[in-house]
């Protein structure tokens, strides 16, 4: 494997890790939060709840697939 490809692979494993859906979910949650803030909604509650739901869904899926 060439160096740029190895570096990209390393960065992917380092930041995204085992569950790409979790990282994608974080990106979507931040996007939705930005829209809520831009619309003037006091959205401080949104990100903690979104992250808790993402985490719960990710561990539940991992547990199901390991059975």
């Amino acid at each position: 494997m060439r160096l740029p490809a190895r570096l990209a692979r390393f960065l992917y494993d380092f930041i995204v890790g085992d569950d790409w859906r979790l990282a994608a979910g974080v990106a979507v949650a931040l996007g939705v939060l930005a829209l809520l803030v831009a619309a003037g909604v006091p959205a401080w509650w949104f990100l903690p709840i979104a992250i808790a739901l993402l985490l719960a869904e990710s561990v539940a899926r991992a547990a199901r697939s390991s059975r």
């Binding site: 995204v16 890790g17 974080v26 939060l33 990100l47 903690p48 808790a52 991992a62």
Partner: protein, 233 residues
């Protein structure tokens, strides 16, 4: 750091200290250079943009740690066994051929360099994230250096892998902290007004801790139920 220490000790005790320690030193210099180069460069980025980027990265990174820690604590993923990793590393080091380059045992040098550099990158990431967003890069780097000295010192004294370190508990706590700060900084960068200002960090930490512990309990219960159903079938 504990995992890096296991690799370094296994290689040093099997192949000798000199080349191994040169590998550790070169990795240390490379990591220090990375902090010195990236840290000041980040100060040119506007603080809100920096908080969004750092917050998003901390969230992705912290959630990985938290996810693994929850799966390990609930029995769905095997706990990291430092003693076994040490034994396997020693077997590999003993079986590897001898290749001398630049007066060094190349196997010992490259393995200790890779072990320390790759494990150290996680530390560098945390140092730069926390240091740059709080304009305290020196303090964050000093704290990481102190942790390195502590782990290396204990390793030098006991000359064995640190099997008694409650690794999953530490990873659980680090995952919680990284995710908490990730939520706080990403939110702040986007424009969220946290109720209570900085005190919201403690509330976020408490909330995530409760959620994580509830998830561990639910997963453990589901695992026990699944085993009972299997046993009855």
């Amino acid at each position: 750091m504990v995992e890096a220490l296991t690799i370094v000790l296994a290689v040093a005790l099997t192949r000798g200290w000199r080349s191994t320690l040169v590998g550790v030193a070169v990795a240390g210099i490379a990591l220090t250079a990375l902090v010195a180069a990236l840290g000041p460069a980040l100060t040119f980025i506007p603080i809100d943009a920096l908080r969004i980027v750092v917050g998003a990265l901390l969230l992705a990174f912290g959630l990985q740690w938290l996810r693994k820690a929850i799966l390990r604590a609930s029995g769905y993923k095997a706990l990291h066994n430092e003693e076994e990793a040490f034994r396997e590393e020693r077997e590999r080091a003993a079986a590897a051929g001898r290749d001398e380059r630049a007066g060094l045992d190349w196997y010992a040098f490259t393995l200790s360099f890779k072990g320390v550099f790759l494990e150290g990158l996680e530390v560098v990431f945390i140092v730069i994230s926390f240091g740059s967003t709080q304009s305290q890069l020196g303090l964050a780097a000093a704290a990481a250096a102190a942790a390195f000295v502590l782990v290396a010192g204990v390793g030098a004294v006991v000359r064995a892998p640190l099997t008694r370190v409650p690794e999953n508990t530490i990873k659980f706590a680090v995952g919680l902290l990284l995710t908490t700060f990730g939520i706080f900084w990403a939110g702040e960068g986007i424009g969220v007004d946290w109720p209570g200002g900085d005190a919201a960090i403690l509330a976020l930490l408490g909330f995530l801790a409760v959620v994580s512990l509830v998830l561990v309990r639910l997963l453990r219960r589901a695992r026990v139920s699944a085993r009972l159903i299997e046993a009855e079938a």
